[in-house]
């Protein structure tokens, strides 16, 4: 832990600051949403205002922003000024990364540190890639769904590179927690953007198999269901004709006829022109029976009815979908 905070010497008693006149905050005579600042916070900000207004870009200004940011890492003005100072004094940017890492430990969900990190690593260029991937990995080990960390990681990959081990890392995260939707999103990002894989079309077959396996091991997990649709994004025709998709629905519904994700995918397949036959006909026939639907009702209609019943939270949505079914649908 830091010891400097306990032993903090007020700026007013530091000889190297004796030439600076602190500038108090101009809150007016009757302040609102006034924060009862502690003395050291107020004093530090008063000195920051003085240096910011005089635009002094010096090593001591850098030190001042360090102290200010430690007290409130959410102050974007301080971060912004710090970048101006860093540029002016040609500071060591590797040291800067250590500073950000230190601040990030206590505040991993703060916008400013991540923006700052991006700024620093952009300046360092491709040589920063592995450090940045390591850094986000460390943050994600504490919170595997940290939104900022993921956004940063995507940016690093796209801007600085370092794709080589990304899929392996993603595999590992999904192995740990197959419900981690951020990892599924990362997987999609890898499949669509990684220069080493050759694009969605090249990986589709193997990815579909991977996803089908994930779904079968845990049908109530929404993430792989959305990922599966994503693999056919923009190509409904292929989604409908690829028998792996329809058979997956069938297989899941045989185990759990009320599986909302399977039913909703099947509904979309029907809407996109899927023509059910054989086992499907008897399966939906069974659903029809249980839903009390009239026998001549269309399959898609039946599925909406079942969904309204088994998924009451979305009953309004399914009823709306039912009212908008195309006339040509099965």
């Amino acid at each position: 832990m830091d010891s400097d905070e306990d032993e903090r010497v007020p700026f007013s008693r530091r000889p190297e600051w004796s030439d600076v006149n602190p500038v108090p905050q101009d809150d007016g005579p009757n302040p609102v949403v006034a924060i009862a600042y502690k003395d050291d916070f107020r004093e530090t900000m008063d000195y920051f205002r003085a240096i910011y207004q005089s635009d002094e870009r010096s090593p001591r200004a850098l030190q001042l922003t360090t102290e200010t940011i430690r007290m409130n890492p959410g102050n974007y003005t301080v971060w912004h000024f710090r970048r101006l100072v860093l540029e002016e004094i040609n500071a060591d940017l590797h040291e800067e990364l250590d500073f950000v890492a230190h601040v990030a430990e206590g505040n991993p969900k703060n916008y400013q540190i991540w923006h700052h990190r991006r700024w620093v690593s952009e300046k360092l260029g491709t040589k920063a890639a592995s450090v940045e991937l390591q850094f986000t990995k460390k943050i994600l080990a504490l919170d595997a769904k940290n939104y900022h960390a993921w956004s940063h990681r995507l940016w690093v990959l796209e801007t600085l590179g370092g794709w080589e081990d990304e899929l392996e890392y993603c595999d590992k995260l999904l192995e740990d927690d197959i419900f981690n939707n951020s990892a599924w999103n990362q997987r999609y990002f890898i499949m669509t953007r990684s220069p080493v894989l050759g694009g969605l079309q090249a990986v589709r077959d193997s990815e579909v198999s991977y996803t089908v396996k994930a779904i079968l091991s845990n049908p109530p997990n929404e993430s792989p269901w959305r990922y599966l649709r994503g693999l056919y994004k923009g190509d409904h025709k292929l989604l409908v004709t690829d028998t792996k998709v329809s058979s997956l629905c069938l297989e899941v519904l045989k185990i759990d006829p009320n599986c909302v994700f399977a039913l909703s995918l099947l509904l979309d397949l029907l809407c996109y022109g899927f023509e059910p036959s054989g086992e499907f006909t008897s399966l939906i026939g069974g659903l029809k029976h249980s839903s009390g639907d009239t026998l001549d009702a269309k399959f898609a209609n039946t599925i909406c009815c079942v969904l309204e019943r088994v998924d009451p939270m979305r009953a309004n949505y399914w009823a709306w979908r039912r009212s908008k079914l195309p006339t040509e649908v099965y």
């Binding site: 905050q25 101009d26 809150d27 007016g28 302040p31 609102v32 949403v33 006034a34 924060i35 009862a36 600042y37 502690k38 916070f41 900000m45 205002r49 409130n72 959410g74 102050n75 974007y76 003005t77 912004h80 916008y111 923006h115 595997a144 769904k145 939104y147 993921w150 956004s151 995507l154 796209e158 419900f179 981690n180 939707n181 951020s182 599924w184 999103n185 999609y188 669509t192 997990n221 929404e222 993430s223 959305r226 994503g230 994004k233 923009g234 190509d235 409904h236 025709k237 409908v240 809407c271 996109y272 022109g273 939270m313 979305r314 309004n316 949505y317 709306w320 908008k324 195309p326 040509e328």
Partner: protein, 446 residues
């Protein structure tokens, strides 16, 4: 293969089960008591909320120093909550708030997080919405619109997106706050709007929702921001609306509240971000339907292309009819009128989510008896969650009204009818009558 015995639960499953347990415990109490007691339990504790809110408007404890660069936000969260509760602040305080926000206004336009701080789009949005919520000549005329326009232009990046502040981060939140402020102040123009639609479109993900940046994960807050911004710039039909609707509709869980992302925990603030998005989609249902029908039977190919190709080739203006709602002429649409005309006419369909269930989550799981609202049971109250739980509650209460802001039927209100809040303008999240006042003030006599 799993070893014998119960399969090991993942971290996501364990956390989810813990929260479900707590939420269901809360609901169990409700089912065990008489209807009279039920009604008491479901009451909105107005006095307690007002106490919590008005206290914060003057003085905040030392721990609030972490929000020292967000003070206009604190103003907005509190003022919007008070307005939703149909209350006002006294004149002295009102003047002091106008004075304070004036001190946050940058001489070059926009508002910072406190006096002397760099202008920032998010605090600009908060300050403008605060002043509109206060209303009146003094508050509204304190905004320098000319300088504001210059500030917004300075924040604009050639890609179309906006930066949060000078050399700051770029994302969908920045786009929304910029567009919202410009629209409500009647200074939105073609230059500000250029390529914003393409940027937001590039943030719609394979899941259906919208992310903060291209490639990131679909997220409730960004989804509201992206959708509302797209509506305000007349480009909403670039989005895959059926996919968006499906994704948002699926975010309401067994806890009755909304989660922000797939497989994340329920949180009261998404009552507004997701619930509000569903209210917007309800108003847009004809456009969603139009796209849905185009998607049927593989007709999508010739009508619209997938988002990857759309983002790379499409430029604003190449498809001048892309953002039109059916039956409207392009020439009749003026950018700054969109927020106003969005309120006109009847809603073509009923609510697209379970509005009663959501009210139950807000009143029983988020409401704090001592005043204020929180994320979920086990968390502490704060002004942010108070604002967005109340905003979400208002969305629930009015989503069955055919005309905007029309008193809803009692069947749409959970708990006593006295729980009814003020209606909001869902694109800006300010109370409806304050919006109308601002609209006539900024559009001037014509």
């Amino acid at each position: 293969m799993e070893p014998s015995g119960a399969p090991r639960l993942t971290a996501t499953q364990q956390e989810q089960l813990r929260v479900e347990q707590r939420v269901f415990d809360t609901y169990r109490v409700l089912s065990d008591v008489s209807p009279h007691t039920q009604s008491l339990i479901l009451e909105l504790w107005r006095d307690k909320h007002m106490e919590f809110l008005t206290r914060g408007l003057r003085l905040l404890g030392p721990s609030y120093h972490v929000l020292d660069a967000n003070r206009p936000w604190i103003c907005y969260w509190i003022l919007q909550s008070i307005a939703l509760l149909e209350e006002t602040v006294d004149l002295q305080l009102e003047n002091d708030i106008v004075d304070f926000l004036y001190r946050c206004q940058d001489t070059d336009g926009g508002y910072g997080g406190g006096p002397g701080q760099l202008a920032h789009l998010a605090t600009t949005y908060a300050a403008v919405n605060s002043l509109i919520t206060l209303g009146g000549e003094k508050a509204l005329s304190s905004i320098n619109r000319e300088k504001m326009h210059a500030f917004l232009l300075r924040m604009k990046h050639p890609s179309g997106a906006f930066r949060m502040h000078e050399a700051g981060e770029m994302d969908v939140r920045a786009c929304y706050t910029a567009v919202s402020v410009a629209s409500i102040l009647n200074i939105l123009d073609a230059e500000l709007v250029q390529n914003v639609g393409d940027y937001i479109l590039s943030c719609q993900t394979f899941e259906g929702g919208i992310a903060g940046e291209p490639g990131s994960e679909a997220h409730g807050g960004y989804t509201f921001c992206g959708l509302a911004a797209m509506i305000l710039i007349n480009r909403v039909e670039l989005l895959d609306l059926p996919a968006l609707l499906d994704w948002v509709a699926f975010r309401q869980g067994v806890e009755c509240g909304f989660q922000g992302r797939v497989n994340k925990l329920v949180d009261g603030c998404y009552s507004f971000w997701q619930g509000g998005a569903l209210l917007l989609l309800q108003r847009l249902s004809l456009s969603v339907e139009e796209q849905l029908k185009v998607s049927y039977f593989g007709r999508e190919k010739e009508m619209r292309s997938g988002h990857d190709s759309a983002t790379s080739n499409l430029h604003e203006g190449e498809r001048p009819d892309a953002g039109l709602r059916p039956g409207r002429e392009l020439s009749n649409i003026k950018l700054n009128d969109i927020g106003f005309s969005f309120l006109e006419g009847e809603t073509a369909c009923g609510p697209l989510f379970h509005s009663i269930a959501l009210q139950q989550y807000i009143l029983l799981c988020s409401q704090v008896l001592e005043g204020g609202f929180k994320d979920k049971p086990g968390k502490h109250r704060d002004f942010y969650h108070t604002c967005y739980c109340l905003s979400g509650l208002s969305v629930c209460q009015y989503c069955r009204s055919e005309d905007f802001g029309e008193s809803p039927p009692p069947s749409g209100i959970l708990g006593p009818y006295a729980n009814l809040l003020e209606p909001i303008h869902p694109l800006f999240n300010v109370v409806l009558d304050r919006y109308y006042e601002a609209h006539s003030f900024f559009t001037g006599p014509s």
